[in-house]
């Protein structure tokens, strides 16, 4: 039996340590992992917990991230709880197996510490890996600080393993700004966390040898479409479980999570829509804009997938201009947030000005002043009632001003 880890009411943890403790408390049977910056400390801390007697499960060192996720797929199909961590190139190498995990309906938890994708090689934070995996059929939860990385990692097990869901869950946090920045974290005590996460409930377990089962079967044109439709249906409906788990977590901790995060949006004319640690910077920028009389707010997705379409429509129903901030090179079009937020607004019959900013690639700092410039652009557009700046701009880029559309 694993030893109890003595925790203070308030711990000083970076995002990696917070995620590692959440994994430790979740009583995982198999962690198969391969290290990669900046997520390495998650599995490094976890393996130290194991070596020190705080973990009952197995840790499998594998030869690549493809194998790490394959190990998790095998363990989960066998009927046990499995989780791992990765970033960037490792995430890219995992992509094939991410689709296997969701298609096979295995509730694996993957803590992703977001980092740029090469080339040029870069170890710092941006959302290229998050965007790469967003169509892989996983539930995607987004955190902005170590406390949330801890909370969402614990909740990820409950959500994915729910018998109505049975889908893998990613928990994202920004490389370095979150993963390596120590902050106050209020953890649950071990027994409370264990009780919250609960026992793993095997479904169609391969270890049930009296009922041999094949996972990862081949389905051609006769079955494949129906299976992918069912998977999409269950992913869409997982929002109900996500909300239930958020509510139960609030009852236990007082910390409230909602599929769409908002800050000062009740009366906002202009809004920044961003993901990750930028949300916290944008809050400060919004406060400063409000001192100047501009009604600024911040919106973010706590749940990137399934996409909270209705909630986004509702939150933005009265804004005059919104800036979608994408921290991933858009590869020849608008950023993902611009496309999805625009679609939600259009379908809801609203036509505020929607701008797109590409920012923070490869760990480029995004300052409060830069975000205030975005609010200034939005204010101009809101007052003019139309886009008076280019629709796509680059924020914090050196050289001549670059814009499109």
């Amino acid at each position: 039996m694993a030893k109890k880890y003595e925790l203070n009411e308030v711990e000083v943890w970076d995002g990696n340590m917070a995620a590692a403790h959440a994994l430790r408390q979740a009583d995982i049977d198999i962690v198969a992992a391969y290290p990669i910056t900046p997520s390495t400390p998650i599995v490094q801390n976890y393996s130290k917990f194991l070596a020190d007697g705080y973990v009952d499960g197995e840790f499998i060192m594998v030869e690549s991230e493809h194998s790490a996720m394959s190990g998790c797929v095998a363990a989960s199909a066998a009927g046990v709880r499995a989780a791992t961590a990765t970033s960037s190139q490792g995430f890219a190498l995992m992509v094939e197996v991410l689709y296997q995990a969701s298609g096979m309906r295995l509730p694996i938890v993957l803590t992703v510490v977001n980092r740029a994708l090469a080339a040029p090689l870069n170890v710092n934070g941006d959302h290229s890996d998050m965007y790469l995996g967003r169509d892989a059929g996983w539930i995607n939860l987004c955190s902005y600080n170590p406390q949330e990385a801890y909370d969402l990692t614990l909740m990820a097990f409950r959500i994915g393993e729910d018998l109505n869901v049975r889908l893998p869950v990613m928990v994202h946090q920004d490389g370095f700004i979150c993963s390596h920045t120590a902050q106050n974290v209020r953890p649950l005590q071990d027994e409370e966390a264990r009780e919250f996460v609960g026992e793993f409930k095997p479904v169609n377990s391969m270890l049930d040898v009296a009922n041999p089962v094949t996972h990862g079967v081949q389905t051609e044109e006769d079955w494949h479409f129906e299976h992918k439709a069912r998977q999409h249906n269950d992913l869409m409906n997982s929002m109900k479980t996500i909300n239930e788990v958020f509510a139960e977590f609030k009852d236990r901790t007082g910390r409230e999570y909602t599929p769409v995060y908002t800050y000062k949006m009740d009366d906002a004319d202009v809004a920044i829509f961003a993901l990750g640690t930028t949300v916290e910077s944008a809050r400060i920028a919004a406060d400063q804009m409000r001192q100047k009389g501009i009604k600024a707010g911040v919106v973010s997705l706590r749940v990137l997938r399934p996409f909270p379409f209705k909630e986004v429509q509702e939150v933005l129903s009265n804004v005059k201009a919104v800036a979608t901030l994408d921290r991933s090179a858009p590869g020849g079009t608008f950023g993902m947030l611009f496309n999805e937020i625009s679609a939600a607004l259009l379908a809801g019959g609203k036509k505020p000005v929607v701008l797109n900013y590409i920012y923070g690639l490869g760990g480029r700092d995004t300052t409060i002043n830069m975000l205030k410039e975005v609010y200034e652009d939005l204010d101009k557009c809101a007052k003019a009632g139309e886009a008076v700046v280019p629709l796509q701009q680059f924020l914090g880029l050196r050289g001549p001003k670059l814009s499109f559309y």
Binding site: M104, P212, V213, H215, W223, R230
Partner: protein, 143 residues
Amino acid sequence: MAKDLKEIKDIEEIKELGWDELLPGAALFSFREPVEDVAEIPMEERPYAPTNSHEWQVGDWRVEKPVYNRDYCIDCQFCWVFCPDMSILSRDKKMIGVVYEHCKGCGICVEVCPTNPKSLLMFPEHMDNQEALAMWPKKEEKK
């Protein structure tokens, strides 16, 4: 509500299932009921589910077939061990023959057969087995 595929008798019925009737994750069960020690149950007595590959006949993929000649077989079981499709029938370590419903004609059994002449040889699919046996080669002399 997902249907219990073990209850379905006809493979054609499975092909018509809607998205809401499929077992999530495309997990397929081998047997209709729990089986405690499958190795001890002869193939013909196993309670195969319609989703078991035993129920999917792929013998018509074959262009050449292995023909078995009892006269030279030493029951070494190499073919039984190496066959990738469980298409070699053997009982109590005695070779019986080839299951043509499942054999895809890969020829591995012929490759691994150690006798001289071989006890399994590939022949054109359309040739009668008796005709094949009548033209079986003689023992090769060592040079």
